[in-house]
Subunit: 447 residues, 2 copies
């Protein structure tokens, strides 16, 4: 308990003393190493248990508490810990707000939150108020106010809130980040990204049903498609792009303009599975099959973000990274760099560049990462969160990143509602983006 | 002269009689075959001479008149006709308005216009008023008013005005059109296209100069980059997409929202070629390096159009054709079609589909097309224009097509000027798009 209290005291002290809070919100003492990071988990469905499994593979953590309203999931998770030969964690399964009881424990250093989206804000705010490092699944919030609540909570408590955006650690986008920073793309002008992934089998079960009684994300996620028309899931795409473009660190998102196509995919799928008389066949889904947003930045770049999850299609995050000297595109995985590529204005395969410009962090952690979830990305994002807790330093992605990326969701809804009007981004950093320096995955970064 | 007069008389009569002009503007007698189509050429620079060469390869045309303010070009063109063993055409080189004198001839059936963009409208209007089939290079106009002028001239005179949009005949996009019409993509939802072509070597000579005294398009085209910020060249991309989506034939463009990046490419190139003290290094180019537009349609599809001509980069028109059953992307040339593709949600190479669904017109004209300009497309667009004249029927692309596609230029400028606001498309068809039927490149089409 001593460590916990002392950190809380420190945070309180530094806040009261006002030690540069407006410049560096998280004045956590560096070098205060923890031998074992004591973790809690809120939400141990598919995603939460995947984080748990990854954590259990480490020798520097212990799992103290697990919370889920689904007792079966909680028991599964508890068994995983037991099977890993660790002390059994306490379970919190008494209902939707039992996470608050869990956060009253005084032995938690960090918490992983992997719950339905609408729970992200209250849970993360509660965790920060309990002084617990907060690792939150994507998106961190579904409303503008929710993003602000998290920012304010992190500033108020001095507790880091890291969105667990794994794609920022994808091997190719990190090599690209490396190359962007070496100036190989010249001055950045344009980027593309998105979440193009056929989620029809996730949003509907094999009988065309969703909601209570179905298993997995169809229990809650499908409702967002009924009620919202916008980019419901922007962060996998925009995260890597934000790092390329120094968003919140010398640059920021200014405006967004979004457009949606007709909504056909979910209805079509329901009819295919259950016929036109299926009770769900009469639902009018609000979410268009393809939502595209154009974002402009303070440095006069543009970014096109695509959300396309209710169509049959191959998976693609649709990345493009373009500057005055050339561009990379993930579809086809081709690159052209002026003065580097052999043939003038001709695509080259990206593979040799991937090898040559592999990010230092990937070189360092390669062996540990491979075999972990989602091609290694999951290892990195968990590792970063846990290593930050261990060292009691800021997380490499902070609440401003999470807010700026997640707010694309509600802003795109507002734009579509207004017929594609441009909508301004809030500046969650309150102007500090102008002075902040890039700190994600630097050459010198340890994690 | 008899044929000419008689057609003019017919047009006049039908107009006076009001024979359904509002439904079918070009009531030209079918089957009135011409043995030799008598052609004129206005503008015989690079592009005009390429059309001339293509025409000269045919045995069903004669070239009566050639107009260019550049006497050298005119002489070169005249020699080409002579070398083809045909009667020498008369030259019109007395200045910028000498095309009007040329159009007073009474022996022209059709005219190719390939001049700097700002001349397109007055020349085409004059040609239509002279009763001469008008084949006009892309874009047909650079202003909204210009598009209207052409529409009104074509309706008033009853003379077809065809934009010579060659990419509509590109082999892959025609196979895709074939597949769209067979319903293989399901219901269309989304498309992408654009003009992504490094024109820096065209816009600047090897000393970083442009304007009078330089050769080719740098003489005039570069000024558009100084004075306009928008999609300067939308039609190569949007033409094929418009056919996939039945634009003006049951569907129409509703709104557009455009955004531009910073303008770096031209300045950077000038400095590279001539140093920072080069007189052109102080020019502020208005045109952003990457301009992206999102268009919404009456059928609730969206289209993203990209213009990117001042960056070093490989050429790509960036096509995507997407519907409820799958999608094709030109970058990587991959396709996925639900229930057709072997593996669920996995890309396949497009080549076998290209072979299987090659458009009937390509099968018909393959041997003639191959070896003509731009991979055969140029043959098709010229052939369509000339065959329509020969048969005295409507051209397969009409003034409404040219206007709806070209107007993206000025509308994107207006949107960017208003910070990305959505701007409405004029309905050049005055509501007739609801009743018009697709007629481009049908299975039954002869050309």
């Amino acid at each position: 308990m001593s460590k916990k209290i002392s950190r809380k005291d420190f945070i309180k002290t530094s806040t009261v003393a006002g030690v540069g809070l407006s410049v560096l919100p998280f004045n956590i003492v560096k070098g205060k190493d923890k031998s074992k990071v004591r973790l809690g988990f809120i939400g141990v469905g598919g995603r939460g248990r995947s984080h748990l499994a990854g954590a259990l593979a480490r020798d520097d953590i212990s799992v103290r508490a697990i919370c889920d309203i689904n007792k079966e999931n909680a028991a599964k998770a508890q068994k995983m810990v037991r099977d890993a030969g660790m002390d059994e964690p306490e379970l919190y399964t008494r209902g939707e707000t039992d996470f608050r009881r869990m956060l009253k424990r005084d032995d938690l250093d960090g918490v992983f939150i992997a719950t339905p989206w609408l729970w992200h804000v209250p849970m993360a705010v509660a965790a920060m108020e309990a002084g617990v490092y907060t690792g939150l699944e994507v998106p961190i919030a579904t409303t503008v106010d929710g993003c602000w609540e998290l920012v304010e909570a992190s500033e108020r408590t001095g507790v880091p809130c890291m969105m667990l955006e794994n794609v920022c650690y994808r091997r190719d986008v990190m090599a690209i980040l490396n190359m962007v920073r070496k100036g190989m793309f010249g001055e950045m002008t344009h980027a593309r990204c998105g979440y193009q992934h056929n989620l029809l089998p996730v949003l509907l079960d094999e009988n065309g049903n969703f909601g209570p009684g179905t298993v997995g994300e169809s229990e809650w996620r499908t409702y967002h498609h009924i009620n919202r028309n916008g980019d419901l899931y922007p962060t996998h795409g925009i995260g890597p792009v934000a790092h390329w473009l120094d968003i919140n660190k010398g640059n920021r998102f200014l405006k967004i303009s979004s457009h949606a196509t007709k909504a056909e995919g979910l209805h079509k799928r329901i009819v295919e599975l259950g016929g036109i008389n299926h009770p769900n066949a009469s639902i009018e889904f609000k979410k268009g099959d393809v939502v595209t947003s154009t974002i402009t930045t303070a440095r006069d770049e543009t970014i096109i973000v695509t959300h396309n999850t209710s169509s049959v299609r191959p998976y693609s995050l649709g990345f493009r990274c373009q500057g005055t000297k050339g561009l990379w595109q993930v579809d086809g995985n081709t690159i052209y760099l002026d003065g580097v590529s052999e043939k003038h204005d001709q695509w080259e395969p990206f593979e040799p560049y991937q090898e040559k410009y592999d990010h230092p962090l990937w070189k360092k952690y390669h062996d540990e990462a491979v075999g972990s979830g989602h091609g290694g990305m999951d290892f990195f994002v968990r590792n970063a969160f846990i290593e930050a807790i261990k060292r009691q330093v800021n997380t490499p992605m902070d609440v401003y990143d999470g807010a700026a990326w997640s707010v694309i969701g509600p802003l795109s809804e507002a734009s579509i509602e207004q017929g594609g009007a441009t909508v301004s981004f809030p500046d969650f950093t309150d102007g500090r983006w102008m002075k902040r320096e890039p700190d994600f995955a630097l050459e010198s970064s340890e994690f």
